[in-house]
């Protein structure tokens, strides 16, 4: 069961993680909120927002790798059809 559910779960996890950025709009102090106010004070919004982008990218990459490992573990012993020819 978990083997079939994992790809959708991965998708859901990644989407949810990106959605968390929205909490900054209602004033919760997450990285986006902090970066925006830091950018305002220092007049260097580009640096801070780029950092946030990289942090999110890193978080996504880590979850991606971990979830892929989990997936591989659950797929142990399952054989897949060979890759197909394409034009």
């Amino acid at each position: 069961m978990i083997r079939y559910a994992l790809p959708s779960f991965t998708n859901n996890w990644l989407t949810l993680m990106k959605t968390t950025a929205l909490v900054s709009i209602i004033g919760l102090e997450d990285i986006v909120y902090t970066a925006l106010s830091a950018g305002r004070t220092s007049q260097k919004p580009f640096v801070f927002l780029l950092t946030v982008l990289i942090i999110y990218l890193a978080l996504m990459a880590i979850s991606d790798i971990v979830l892929r490992l989990v997936e591989r573990r659950y797929n142990r012993g399952v054989t897949f059809p060979q890759g197909r020819f394409h034009a």
Partner: protein, 247 residues
């Protein structure tokens, strides 16, 4: 606390819920602006995004040497970061440089509307490229062999067989993307654009009626998404006619 809230809703001087909701209809122009902005932003970005997505998907499937990895990186970065941060990055971030402020692009980049359009277009192009790539990869081998057997060039095979077949195959997934793009467009209201949520915010600022305003916004989004699903249901009926069992 709870008592204060209930008494607030029941007390006569603030009017009934219905009475306060009527205010929304008196402000229909504000909400119309909101709907127009949302529809324009989402619609234009979807059209341009799709035009960009087609060559990107083909490049990925064909594994064009350098370009393919560039497209893969682009898609990974765009899909790996929140749309809100991308929008802030374009709207607040780029203005840090004087070179940007002096260039011709500044006429557009200082306008929140164009920033939002740029961000949404880039975002939807990455998602659509992935959807299309899946669609092209799912084209049956027989269809491609048929193209080769009648001597079609790769270009005409793509134009006449592979892409139309892929478009039809990805229709449900693409419908999902259109709905997600509509939902995602709410972040436009954070950079002062009057989209549907922006209208609700302004309504709240003027009349201090958060509940009624945002409820109206929710209903408007519900209507938009309902219309989108109807359009796609219609398209699916038309394009999948051949798959229906014959009587």
């Amino acid at each position: 606390m709870r008592e204060t809230i209930t008494s607030f809703f029941q007390s006569d001087d603030t009017g009934s819920f219905l009475g306060r909701s009527v205010l929304i209809f008196s402000q229909w122009k504000l909400f119309l602006t909101g709907v127009t902005n949302t529809v324009m932003l989402v619609g234009i970005s979807l059209v341009i995004g799709r035009l960009i997505a087609i060559p990107m998907a083909v490049i990925r499937v064909q594994r064009v040497p350098v370009l393919s990895s560039l497209v893969a990186l682009y898609v990974y970065v765009i899909r790996g970061t929140p749309l809100l941060v991308q929008l802030y990055f374009v709207y607040y971030g780029l203005s840090q440089f004087e070179a940007v402020q002096k260039s011709f692009a500044w006429d557009y980049l200082r306008e929140p509307w164009w920033c939002a359009l740029l961000t949404f277009t880039v975002g939807t192009s990455a998602y659509t490229a992935e959807i299309l790539r899946g669609g092209i990869l799912a084209v049956p081998r027989g269809e491609i062999e048929a193209c080769i057997s009648v001597g079609m060039s790769k270009l005409s095979a793509y134009r006449r067989v592979i892409l139309p077949s892929a478009f039809r195959r990805v229709l449900p997934a693409y419908g999902n993307e259109v709905i997600f793009a509509t939902h995602a467009s709410v972040v436009a209201s954070t950079v002062t654009i009057i989209d549907i949520v922006g209208a609700a915010r302004q309504f709240n600022n003027t009349y201090y009626l958060a509940y009624e305003g945002f409820l109206a916004a929710a209903v408007l989004y519900l209507i938009l998404v309902f219309l989108i699903t109807r359009v796609f249901a219609h398209l699916e009926r038309r394009l999948y006619r051949h798959l229906k069992a014959r009587m």
